[in-house]
């Protein structure tokens, strides 16, 4: 049963299984294990990024397509929810309409980009996505009457999903709308992740891998490569948009820094590479480590700097203000020692 949910794609490594179980339980029980607004926000961000990174891996790791427009699709989903909530008023219908129209817009845009550029060489597609993503980012910033520009948009979501909605207490944890909101994000991300896992293990997923390996031969055995690449791009875009919608529902705010920025694109790329390309589980590991490091490395270094305050040099090196440098060093090390990603390394080291 468990293996069927995972589409027969077992972790194939003891340590990896353990890590996945820890991440799963940690996220499933986050509101009870880690009380506090910030911890829950981190947990929700991890859920959303696991999904976003997994959808990117469908392109990069499974199909061998490099795209720089992934956060654009993510942003489209978020914008859909924001705009619908503002213009239709607070309500579930606005969330639904916003989510669906965001996903639809992402799919259509991905289809158009794919149609124009996936026929030719892969690098061309990467360039086109870069151009389109930059254009959209500028557009969003310029059309501030509609999008709020650099300030972004704040809006209201149904009361049942906000902290104001209380309905009891369990184990000392308040049961409120924020908890419901978290579980909406968690289960939606879980379901979509399992869907992705199914996609990559389906006959379609195998064709994508064959195209990644040798598109020339894939064509020669009867697969119309451009159709498969376009389909994968559209699916990946749609799921990225859904992740964006979930993030927008969670944050109740959409701005360039949370969804569209190029920095997030780089983060996603790093998460895929660190976790392990072409393994959906790599998205889980990569996103969890990355988001945790982003949120807590600074604190951890603060603690460490205080503990070593009496020693020379060391407290300066691990001063919390230098956390970005250390994050960078961690990335370089992880890519150097695990070129196939953490999951690739764990599976090979069996």
């Amino acid at each position: 049963m468990g293996l069927r949910l995972l589409s027969g794609d077992a972790p194939r490594s003891g340590i990896l299984s353990l890590l996945l179980i820890v991440v799963f339980l940690g996220l499933a029980l986050a509101p009870f294990l880690f009380p506090g607004v910030r911890a829950l926000h981190t947990a929700a961000t991890i859920c959303v990024f696991i999904l976003l990174v997994a959808s990117y891996d469908l392109l990069l790791g499974y199909s061998g397509i490099v795209s720089f427009a992934h956060t654009m699709f993510f942003g489209l989903g978020a914008c859909g929810v924001a705009l619908a909530s503002i213009h239709m008023g607070r309500g579930w219908d606005a969330l639904l309409v916003g989510t669906l129209s965001g996903a639809l817009a992402a799919t259509v845009l991905a289809y158009v980009i794919g149609l124009f550029s996936l026929r030719v060489r892969a690098i061309f597609f990467a360039m086109i996505t870069l151009a389109v993503a930059s254009a959209v980012a500028v557009l969003v910033s310029q059309l501030f009457q509609l999008t709020g520009g650099e300030d972004g948009l704040t809006y209201q979501i149904p009361r049942e999903l906000t902290p104001a909605f209380r309905f009891g207490e369990v184990f000392g944890t308040n049961l409120n709308g924020r908890l419901l909101n978290y579980y909406l994000v968690f289960f939606a991300c879980l379901a979509l992740f399992l869907l992705l896992l199914r996609l990559v293990n389906s006959p379609f997923g195998r064709v994508l891998q064959s195209i990644r390996e040798n598109d020339f031969r894939a064509e020669a055995i009867g697969y119309r490569v451009v159709h498969y690449r376009t389909a994968a791009t559209c699916m990946s875009a749609a799921i990225a948009a859904l992740a964006g919608s979930l993030y927008a529902i969670w944050l109740r705010y959409v701005g360039p820094d949370t969804t569209l920025s190029f920095e997030i694109m780089i983060d996603v790329l790093l998460m895929v590479v660190i976790g392990g390309m072409g393994t959906m589980y790599g998205a889980v590991i990569g996103a969890t480590i990355f988001v945790l490091a982003q949120n807590y490395l600074q604190n951890l270094m603060g603690v460490a700097a205080e503990a070593t305050a009496n020693l020379p040099l060391i407290p300066d090196l691990i001063d919390p203000n230098r956390w970005l440098m250390w994050l960078g060093i961690l990335f370089v090390l992880s890519v150097y020692f695990f070129p196939s990603g953490i999951v690739g390394r764990l599976r090979a080291g069996r």
Binding site: R198, R206, Q209, A220, G222, R224
Partner: protein, 254 residues
């Protein structure tokens, strides 16, 4: 009258000023194995590329089972019954032996766009793929990664993938190149077996004269891109033009 499966009419391709294939008109019939011979650079593989669609023609046309496929892409020609094995091994290196053949089977059964079932649940595909693998005696290596396979076994897999496709037109481009003396017979026996089916036509690019003698019903000779001889093996091999264009060079090479 035998059925014509594949026809090329005035087929030509130029690369810059160089004419690689020059107005080749030829028809291939069901139940026939045609060997295509010629010195290196004669345009044999280019002729294959034009037929299977990897490169576009400069002039002329290709007809497959009566349909003009000159403008069709590679995958569409494949779906219409044209299958090809490549001269340089051309596989999916990071996937397993079984997965390589499974992918072909899956394509033939039209299940590529099956999104929501697991590939492993399609046992009919796996079984059919295993049956093909046992014909080339690779069934014992089913889970081996293709990149770790010996050259000879990669060649066998190349042939297995073509057999799995089960096309009407088989195109073999030097199927035994680089194979050891004891490995080659497996492949050659298979080709001989395929020949028994009178509904197919087989095109074979081959250098080894003994192979051609034992398998071919007909030989066509390409020289500088042009078709210079066409006929039964004994006749073609004895002709002056072949002695000059092909055999002479071949003997000189030896």
């Amino acid at each position: 009258m035998t059925r014509t499966l594949l026809e090329t009419t005035d087929l030509t391709v130029r690369f810059g000023g160089h004419v690689a294939v020059d107005r080749v008109t030829c028809a291939f019939h069901a139940g026939e194995l045609t060997a295509i011979v010629g010195p290196n650079g004669a345009g044999k593989t280019t002729y294959f590329n034009l037929i299977s669609g990897q490169i576009g023609v400069s002039a002329g046309r290709v007809k497959l089972k009566g349909h003009d496929v000159t403008r069709f892409n590679v995958s569409r020609r494949c779906k219409m019954g044209l299958g090809r094995a490549f001269q340089l091994t051309n596989l999916f290196p990071a996937l397993s032996v079984l997965e390589n053949v499974r992918l072909v089977m899956q394509s033939r059964m039209g299940k590529g766009f099956n999104l929501f079932t697991t590939a492993a649940s399609h046992t009919e595909i796996t079984e059919a793929a295993m049956a093909v693998l046992s014909r080339v005696r690779l069934d014992g290596l089913r889970d081996q990664k293709v990149s770790e396979l010996s050259h000879g076994n990669q060649r066998k897999l190349e042939v297995a993938m073509l057999i799995a496709l089960d096309p009407d037109v088989y195109m073999f481009d030097e199927p035994t190149a680089g194979m050891s003396v004891d490995e080659a017979p497996v492949v050659l026996d298979l080709i001989a077996e395929l020949k028994q089916d009178r509904d197919r036509t087989i095109l074979l690019v081959e250098h080894k004269m003994d192979v051609i003698r034992s398998l071919a019903d007909r030989i066509i000779v390409l020289h500088n891109g042009a078709l210079v001889a066409d006929g039964p093996p004994a006749e073609v091999m004895a002709s002056d033009v072949v002695q000059e264009a092909y055999m002479g060079k071949e003997l000189a090479d030896v």
